[in-house]
């Protein structure tokens, strides 16, 4: 089952539970941790993208525009 995405894996386990075939608590815990890890990576990627975007649109140093030429 390692080829399943974390969400597909948790949905698979949920289906089994509702069919009365409970997985082991350890397997359920591992599936939850996979979801958490994937979500954590996505949150980190979004934070990095945001920081990159903010760095690109950093405020212009207005004072530098008014410096006499040659300085």
């Amino acid at each position: 089952m390692t080829n399943l995405s974390p969400i597909d894996n948790i949905n698979r386990l949920a289906k089994l539970i509702l069919e009365g075939k409970d997985p082991s608590p350890e397997e359920m815990h591992a599936a939850l941790m996979q979801i958490r890890s994937e979500r954590g990576s996505a949150v980190q990627a979004r934070a990095e993208a945001k920081a990159k975007k903010e760095a690109k649109s950093a405020p212009i140093d207005i004072a530098s525009l008014f410096k006499p030429k040659g300085e």
């Binding site: 949905n11 386990l13 949920a14 539970i17 608590p25 359920m28 815990h29 979801i35 958490r36």
Partner: protein, 302 residues
């Protein structure tokens, strides 16, 4: 509409409905008209509470490992959530609720949590349900006292003081979330019930978990309830129940006809009350499901 039976038990949901609009209370809890789509917030919140309860019992009572306790809680959550078709616009999908359970125990680790469940005769006081007679009330049909019922998540010890602990899932946790709990009748009612069982709680700790589209947020509100506030709450509850009975005996439930009709996106019965033929709207747009305050479950009317 024929006069329906008067409920044997009242809980904070029924009281809140009555004080916001007696007519809404009549339609929703005496005639049991509910929207056709089940309330995702109610169902998801209940499933989350069940997951917490099973995980806590596994860890504190059965001495299971952290991993097994969370796993057992997650299995219980799935069973409680059932096969509901998830609304597309809700963040409270099954996967998100499972993520919320996991996130809760990462944030408040079993051993590192500053709140521990009270242990009574080798059993942790996890999931506290009560049904108590409201002193000074008389059921209009049976003559017995009207029952006040409820359920909260845990009796917990925090800094050597005893608190009611209740978890709430939410869509967001802004500054106004903390204001929700000051004077909140539901919380005072929990404190009253705990004290009736001789648990000397000083107040309640409400833990909020916001389930956002791509993240989770936590918040914690500590609410104290001195005895005078509890006494005032009980007197108010008595008066509210007497007004309910009075409306029931008269066969006339007042309308709010003000902000209750429009706040929070509008009352679910807005179209019904806007019509000169409310019964047509009710039978077309609603189904009858009975909310049982004692079991805290809804069942369909056959």
């Amino acid at each position: 509409m024929p006069r329906p039976p008067f409920p044997a038990a009242i809980d904070s949901t029924l009281r809140a409905s009555f004080v916001s609009c007696p007519r809404k209370f009549e339609m929703e809890y005496l005639h049991h008209w509910k929207p056709q789509t089940p309330n995702i917030h109610l169902l998801a919140g209940g499933a989350f509470a069940r997951g917490l309860e099973v995980a806590r019992l596994a860890f504190w009572r059965d001495k299971e490992s952290v991993e097994r306790s969370i796993g057992l809680g997650a299995i219980a959550l799935v069973k409680a959530y059932g096969t509901l078709e998830e609304p597309r616009d809700s963040t409270k999908s099954l996967v998100n609720m499972l993520g919320a359970l996991c996130e809760y125990f990462v944030h408040y680790g079993f051993s590192t949590d500053s709140i521990h469940p009270l242990v009574v005769v080798d059993r942790p006081a996890v999931e506290f349900s009560f049904a108590l007679p409201i002193p000074g009330t008389r059921h209009p049909e049976t003559g017995d006292p009207v029952i006040y019922s409820g359920r909260f998540d845990m009796l917990g010890l925090y800094n050597n003081q005893l608190f009611v602990v209740d978890e709430k899932t939410a869509s967001q946790l802004g500054p106004s979330w903390y204001n929700n709990w000051a004077l909140r009748s539901q919380i005072t009612g929990y404190c009253w019930a705990a004290r009736e069982f001789n648990y000397t709680v000083v107040g309640a700790i409400i833990r909020g978990l916001a389930i956002l589209t791509k993240d989770y947020k936590h918040a914690e509100a500590i609410e104290y309830r001195p005895q005078w506030q509890v006494d005032r709450w009980l007197e108010q509850l008595r008066r509210d129940v007497k007004r309910m009975i009075q409306c029931w005996e008269e066969g006339y439930f007042d309308w709010n006809l003000d902000s209750t009709c429009s706040s929070y996106g509008g009352c679910q019965f807005l179209s019904v009350c806007n019509s000169n033929h409310p019964e047509r709207w009710l039978s077309a747009e609603f189904i009858q499901r009975v909310w049982d305050p004692l079991t805290r479950e809804e069942r369909e009317v056959k």
